[in-house]
Symmetry: C2
Subunit: 300 residues, 2 copies
């Protein structure tokens, strides 16, 4: 099987798991349930749950507690997009070629669908306690919940999002420190959560979890810089969004700050280090290594 | 000490506990942290955490895992108000005589502060695992998390909120069934969560938790009907909001459906049953009984 066939097969596998945890659409709250499912089904590459699964495999075992967390992290990722797209935030009408949630369901319902997805993420993740087969797995679930909540919140994703929104609203020109804060939290934090949860539920030592966190940080930052590179070099067709939009918006990015060549070199460096960390574990997971490379060196 | 002095003292006690779990305001995400704390500090009577604490005491023991949950439920209650007040929702500029979060911090920051509070509620609640002194308390924490997430989400508060928003937006005249669905979920669900978590962490049997759930349901519904009664009979000064606003908005309520007398009788019946349930436990908690009476028979 070629790598792209493998990705397709595993995306299907991940989609099936997520699907299983989506709430049934019925009752008086039907509309919000529809809006939640619409938002999740708009697609995306399911990168976070896929990485969670693959890191779990890297640790040499697949935990029965893993699936609820895979669904949960995709719900958290989705809620953040639904709220980001709102008129008061980025005011985006399309995402991945499809109408955004507030365009289809109205603004009030999009706010509620985001809230519902975030809450349902935790409602789903706690189902892992029921799946735990012993005390060890029960405790791993509690630890994984802590990491997920921390990385998704004000000391993680929401923190990064806030700094980003504020810098833009107030026309603050980002310093390198602020820019890295935003990237670390807005982009890397949820990748860190995904990979760390995979590791924790795989029984990783604290040291191993830290190594995975570092690896995920590198991937997140490289992913973000690559995004900024693509904004300059990509084609409209490949990206599905206008090119050069950062420049047009006078947005400070790693690329506007350091230039294309230095940015590409930084992506290379971060990516190499990330792969090295993965190769340092006793079990190899070549699919995961390839996935990381493809994630970073994507052309869209 | 008079009952109102007792309430004051215990409100102070609850405030101190909540305060302890609020995040420090610093860093690049400072604004959202400020907005979160502002929203929590706008006040409110801290009824949900207070009931959680008192039910825990009713069970004869105060759990070391309780405090994080007390803070968490107040954060969930607060986020729901912040999002409810948004222009796309109820568009309220004042709450309890103070400017709402989006008026002070802008709409984008209010959306983020709500998201941050909801997420931080879970981040805070999971701290209870660290407070657990033994396996039993560890398991009670997991169970309490499940109940909290369920009652706060689409099969609880968010579900009720959705049905309410939708009925209003689409001009649907509520049937009694829809009205009770909204009250049960929008109002009662979080009171159920508060009291059930208090019971679970107090080591209550499943049967006792069910009794507490029923008791909380009664309190929630009675509280809501009383709200509708006050809308008709209260004075502006007492309520801090325009009286007769439901009628003016042609809003269907229990009172417009059944009339004042029948509504008052229903409040009486629900409240009596709730108090009976509380009296059925081996330990009496007279403060809790008085609190329930006062909550229901408030004049503002």
């Amino acid at each position: 099987m070629s790598f792209s066939e493998q990705v397709k097969a595993r995306t299907g596998e991940v989609e099936t798991i997520i699907e299983k945890y989506l709430p049934p659409v019925s009752g008086y709250q039907k509309t919000v349930l529809e809006a939640m499912n619409y938002s999740v089904n708009v697609g995306g590459k399911r990168i976070r749950p896929m990485m969670m699964l693959e890191v779990n495999r890297l640790m040499g075992q697949e935990s029965p507690c893993l699936y609820p967390f895979m669904a949960a992290i995709e719900m958290i990722h989705t809620y953040s997009l639904v709220h980001d797209d709102l008129p008061a935030m980025d005011n985006d009408e399309y995402r991945r070629g499809k109408k955004t949630t507030h365009v289809v369901y109205g603004e009030a319902m999009a706010i509620l669908a985001g809230d519902a997805l975030l809450n349902y993420a935790y409602e789903t993740a706690v189902k892992a306690f029921e799946a735990a087969e012993n005390e060890t797995q029960f405790k791993q679930t509690a630890k994984a919940l802590q990491v997920l909540a921390m990385k998704a919140g004000i000391f993680g994703m929401v923190g990064g999002q806030t700094a980003d929104v504020e810098a833009e609203d107030k026309g603050i020109e980002a310093t390198e420190e602020l820019l890295m804060y935003i990237h670390k939290n807005k982009t890397a934090a949820l990748i860190e959560a995904a990979m760390m949860v995979g590791a924790i539920l795989g029984g990783a030592t604290e040291e191993a979890v830290s190594a995975i966190e570092k690896c995920a940080y590198n991937i997140g930052i490289a992913f973000q810089i690559q995004d900024d590179i693509l904004d300059v070099t990509g084609t409209l067709e490949e990206l599905g969004k206008p090119i050069g939009s950062d420049e047009k918006n006078h947005k400070v990015t790693y690329v506007t700050m350091h230039g294309l060549e230095e940015s590409k070199a930084r992506v290379e460096e971060l990516s190499k280090e990330a792969i090295e960390i993965l190769k340092g574990f006793p079990n190899r997971n070549e699919f995961l290594e390839n996935l990381v490379e493809q994630m970073i060196y994507r052309t869209k």
